[in-house]
Amino acid sequence: MKKAKTAGAYVFLIISCFFTIFPMLFMLTLSLRTKVDIIKEGVLSIPEKLHFENYIKAWETGHFSTYFSNSIIISVISVVGVLIFATLIAYAMTYYNFRGKGLVNALILIGLIIPFEIVIIPLFYNMKAVGLLGTRAPVYLTHIALNIPFSVFLLKGFIKDIPTALVESARIDGAPELTVLRKIVVPIIKPALVSVIILIFMWTWNDFMLSNIMLGEDNIRTLPLGLSFFKGKFTRDIPLTSAASTIIMTPVLLVYLAFQKYMIKGLSMGAVKG
């Protein structure tokens, strides 16, 4: 009885996993074929020859190295910005009383509930007015600003759990506030900071709507956006777009496999606390 149940669980999970990764596997097979051979032999046939040259062509025509460095620059700046600003705010909100604290609290709360759609239209024209359109700044500045409330909320939950005596004794020893933050608070809330890094990196790396609106020039486009334009150019060439997607997907998969424990933990922490 118990054995049958375990067998059933295996069957269920294996089918689930197959359904989950099937689109990826299918795309991988498409990326190694040609348009002609798909039409002639049908997609379910086993190809006689694998066409790795799709990858070379996709890489050469796609400007993906430019898109890749744009994605890295935007995500890294966004993550660093959010980390610094959110940690400082979360620390101040926990350990100080100051005029305007209520206002800051209210703004953070608003930030947690407002949908991004209510700011995006004027934001585009504001960025244009101050001359930032045509650079990467509108995207990372917006990522930083919009992710501050969530990150402050998450970090505050962890900073609150630090025994006050720990901070107080450091202060009595004459440590400056920034040192207290760096040497005592940051090491303790490291798991939360890791989770912020992972979440913000993933969100900014995969962002489509904001980049699509703000990044008009080809030389500043991010990977998802570059892929979208590549697909627009080669709509009917499924093997080529599949090869391009596989190229883009590979580093993300490697990072995921290397850091999956942190990623899964980070995400659950974000969802449960947030």
Binding site: A9, V119, V272
Partner: protein, 299 residues
Amino acid sequence: MLKTKLRKKGTGFGVIPYVFVFPGMLLFFLIAVVPIFQTIVLSFTDWNGVTALDKINFIGIDNYKTIISGQEFMAALKNNIIWAVVSVTIPIAIGLIQASVIVNSNVKFKNLFQLLLFLPQILSSMIMSIMWLAIYDPASGVLNAVLEVIGLDSLVRPWLGDKDTAIYALLVMSIWMAYGFNTIIYCTAIRAVDQTMYEAATLDGANSLQAFFRITIPSISKTTTTLLLLSLIGAFKVFDVVYQMTKGGPGYYTYVISYYLYQTAFTSNKIGLGCAIAVLLSILVFVVSRVFLRLRKED
């Protein structure tokens, strides 16, 4: 407790709190707060994004009238509601079942299963769209090919181009995109359930189905409501997939509100009208989450 240990205003810290808070909050204020008011003001104008700001005409609630009486908004709203109904049921149910099988069964490789089920969550929507465009492709898609092989030729169709199937094709994809996240969150939640309850239930002769309904589901209800709320909000904001797969078509059969907003403001340059859509969408998201949280409290 904590409050009493906090220092009073002006007791030794001087400007430090402000130095800590100001840079981040200034950025947030300029980027996330100021534009809210701009959106609201602009929603009562006929600005086209080009004319000088002093030549903008205030036209009252005309934009809102245009939206409510037009066919785009109603078509979009209907699709968003269908999207919401599907995404608060199926992906959450799938996630719950997968998680409870992983946690409460004797299978090995639990981490591997979790790893694979979570995989789509790390991909950008653009890559997922390319995968699913290839699956639904009328000429070389795997879906039509499989249907032909198993003799269901009559079902073969251009899934995304057919007005009867386009929205459901997108929904199947959205289910695939969503459940892995729920599975992982539920795994964490179910692991935190007191294991002695399951032992007691087994001693009392309960089978695993009874344990699932009597122990698992009630113990993780807080996680469920969080996931429901996240899915519900996500369903009213859905944009990427529609933009990348169907552009709202055929006709308005996959049109959604945020795509309507995007097209109005950034393709047709009707800024005033676009801002009015943004206001309506925000009100909608806000009301839906309030009602939901109210219902949760009553439970």
